[in-house]
Amino acid sequence: MEFVDTRKLQFQPQLQPQQHQHFHVLAVDDSVIDRKLLERLLRGSSCKVTCVDSGDKALKYLGLVDELDDTTSSTSLESSSSSPPPQPLQQEGIKVNLIMTDYCMPGMSGYDLLKRVKGSSWKDVPVVIMSSENVPSRISMCLEEGAEEFLLKPLQLSDLDKLQPYFLKSLDNSCEKESANSSIDSENDDNVVIINNNNNNSISKRKVMSPEPHHERSRPKMKELAVV
């Protein structure tokens, strides 16, 4: 049975004692396995998760696409009609606290999705990009476009630690830029650290989200990282 798509997947996660609202993650990935994995990881952190299998569907969910339009074109669809763009779902009470998207997807890439989101009224929602390929130029390109974090696939439990600051910081809104409290708001190079991991020829560029040191991956050398 295919594990796919949106609303069916919204469960009520376990409530933490002082949990006021569910942290809602929109997860975008064309791989059914990765969606399953991501969903499990996030639910385990008491998040509400909505999974979609493409950038187009993500945009639809966010209300950034006029349903009647042909979505195959990459031109700005919001401005294609003479009337103002459709109200994003947030105005109807649907909140998205975090968007996690795969980079490499057929059709719209995660990078394209990132750009669309950052150019919309959802621009203050943090976006995390995931990729199976450790390509420094790709990473910096995404970070420069406003991605908060770049995670290497396959995702692991330890990757959740990098997302903790978002779970903690976000309370109520999906739109307001949070004031002072955490350093994750700043997207500058101050917080970017180039880490040499175990493999000889690869560089992993990650935003340092917390004082915690680089997480050890509990698995053998990923030989593929040497392949560019």
Binding site: E2, I33, K153, P154, Q156, R217, S218, R219, E224, V227
Partner: protein
């Protein structure tokens, strides 16, 4: 067989799969995500992997059977298979895919066909292994025991 004997057998079998390179640490991650609230997580993910892989292998066979091969398409399928095998820790399948992609880039038909055969074989191997492992685990659970996991 006693539960603890079953557990030992299961652990030994799991270890052998790691030693022989069929599985890597990512599989341990999956096991760690299985708990009382998600008691069938591993089986569910593995089942998705089987379905997904079989679909991709069919697509690959079809794509490489064409008179004029679209290597981009072939590469896209291999990329997907690489991703999913990596996500469940099916190391040998993943490594096959890495080699496969290189040949796609070179547009080397013969090498691609050979890779396809190899990846099919590796997939069959790991499928058998995983099915055996799951059976062992289910026997343990049915006998009231818990599935032993490896520290990796």
């Amino acid at each position: 067989m006693e539960v603890d004997q079953m557990q030992r057998q299961c652990l030994d079998y799991t270890k052998s799969l790691f030693l022989e390179g069929f599985l890597d640490g990512q599989f341990v991650q999956l096991q760690q995500l299985q708990d009382e609230n998600n008691p069938d997580f591993v089986v569910e993910v593995v089942s998705l992997f089987f379905e997904d892989s079989e679909r991709l292998l069919n697509d690959l066979t079809f794509a490489l059977d064409q008179k004029s091969i679209d290597f981009k398409k072939v590469d896209a399928h291999v990329h997907q298979l690489k991703g999913s095998s990596s996500s469940i820790g099916a190391q040998r399948v993943k490594n096959c895919c890495i080699a496969f992609r290189n040949f796609c880039e070179e547009q080397n038909i013969d090498a691609c066909l050979s890779c396809l055969q190899q990846v099919k074989q590796e997939y069959c191997h790991v499928k058998n292994k995983l099915e055996t492992l799951i059976r062992l685990e289910q026997q343990i659970v049915a006998a009231g025991g818990s599935i032993p996991t490896m520290e990796f």
